[in-house]
Structures are given as structure tokens and as C-alpha cells.
């Protein structure tokens, strides 16, 4: 179970691959039969509404512990073997990865459901705030899309 806040660009596939090697070292190979990965990235709204970049603020300390609580809740609700949550903060460019959630389990239902649970909980409870940079200045995103 790991949570990382990244101040600069991260490469989601290598983060997952690296974590998976650690998992295999810890619990042995061939223990998980299913893994799910969600990657959220910054869309390029340039033409539609002039958003050219974004800044993500967080609450150092509380953000990490909120993400750890969410991962623990998922582990209590589903028979999962491991989770990885990576979230970017700071200045973000279009197409950059913002969030990565990976879940490993023996069977697919738990991997799908726990992954979605973590993402929905993260969106509603983890202290992150997005500010969009437009041609007319910055504006704070007021609420998250429900899905």
C-alpha cells in the first residue's frame, strides 16, 4: 500500500511496473490474478475555454493521510492484495497525468470495484484544489464532476 504526492511529471506505467516488482518481491509472484489501473490526465480545453495550464494545491500531511485512509477502507471492503495511489500537485500542462490508482487482487471484481471506490472517495474527500489558468487569469475549479 503506497501513496505518493508528485511535485513534477510522473510516468504512470513505470510507477505501476515498479510498484508491482516490489509487490512480487514481498508476496511472491503469481499471487494476484487481476490488476486495475486508472489514470486521470489533464485534458486540453484550449479551443473551448482557453484553459492552457493548471495548478494543483494540496494540504501536506492531511492529503497523504486522507489517501491512506481511503486505501485502507478499500482494503476492508474488498479482498485486495495491494494499492498504489499517485497524485500530481503543482503546475500541470495539458496531457500530464494527474492521478494514478492501481489495485491488485486475486479476482477481477475486487480489483474493479476497489479501484472505482478509491477514485470516487479521492474526488470527494482528498484535499486537492485545482486552479485553471486562462488567458484572463486564474480561476479555482468550484466543484468536481460527479463521474
Amino acid at each position: 500500500m503506497a501513496v505518493y504526492i508528485k511535485q513534477s511529471l510522473f510516468e504512470p506505467f513505470s510507477e505501476v511496473a515498479q510498484h508491482q516488482l516490489q509487490l512480487e518481491a514481498n508476496i511472491g509472484k503469481g499471487q494476484y490474478g487481476a490488476s486495475t489501473i486508472f489514470i486521470g490526465s489533464m485534458r486540453d480545453f484550449n479551443e473551448a475555454c482557453d484553459v492552457s495550464a493548471m495548478t494543483l494545491e494540496y494540504y501536506p500531511g492531511m492529503t497523504e493521510s486522507a489517501l491512506e485512509s481511503i486505501a485502507n477502507e478499500a482494503k476492508e471492503k474488498w479482498p485486495i492484495l495491494d494499492t498504489l495511489i499517485v497524485h500530481r500537485v503543482g503546475d500541470i500542462q495539458p496531457n500530464d497525468s494527474i492521478v494514478l490508482v492501481a489495485v491488485w487482487s486475486a479476482h477481477r471484481a475486487a480489483a474493479y470495484e476497489a479501484n472505482r471506490y478509491i477514485m470516487e472517495a479521492l474526488k470527494s474527500r482528498a484535499p486537492f484544489w485545482k486552479k485553471e489558468m486562462t488567458t484572463s487569469g486564474g480561476r479555482w475549479v468550484e466543484k468536481n464532476t460527479p463521474a
Partner: protein, 77 residues
């Protein structure tokens, strides 16, 4: 003996306060912490409160050395 008060995101910018220290008084609630630091009687709609980095309501009583934070709805992910 004080309380650390933090503000984030839009609230931080509007109030132009990042962090403040407040003298501790027994029986102080989170709402009273807000009032003392900002001079405003009520919290803006939808403002969230965390005490020692856990979500709390405005009527929670704070203790000395607590960290009280105020911030708008979260928009991560």
C-alpha cells in the same frame, strides 16, 4: 499555547492569509477560531474544516496546539 490556523486554495487567496497563530482559550470552537482570525461571523457556504488534519464540524471544540484548517470543496483527481 496556541492554535495553528491554515487556509487553502480560493479561501487562502480571498482572505490573503496562508497560516495564522491564535492564542488558545478553553472551550473555543472551530467557528470561533474562524471568527477570531478572519473577523467574519460565518463561514462561506460549503467551506470545509479539518482539525488536526481530519474533517470536523464548525461546533467542534479545539484543544491547545491543534491545527485548524479551512478550505473550499476539494477538486482533485
Amino acid at each position: 499555547m496556541s492554535i495553528t490556523v491554515k487556509f487553502f486554495a480560493g479561501l487562502r487567496e480571498e482572505l490573503n492569509i496562508d497560516e495564522a497563530q491564535l492564542d488558545f482559550v478553553t472551550g473555543l470552537t472551530a467557528l470561533q477560531v474562524w471568527q477570531k482570525v478572519t473577523g467574519q461571523p460565518t463561514l462561506p457556504t460549503k467551506t470545509l474544516i479539518a482539525v488536526n488534519q481530519e474533517y470536523a464540524s464548525e461546533d467542534i471544540t479545539v484543544n491547545e496546539n491543534d491545527e485548524v484548517a479551512f478550505f473550499p470543496p476539494v477538486t482533485g483527481g
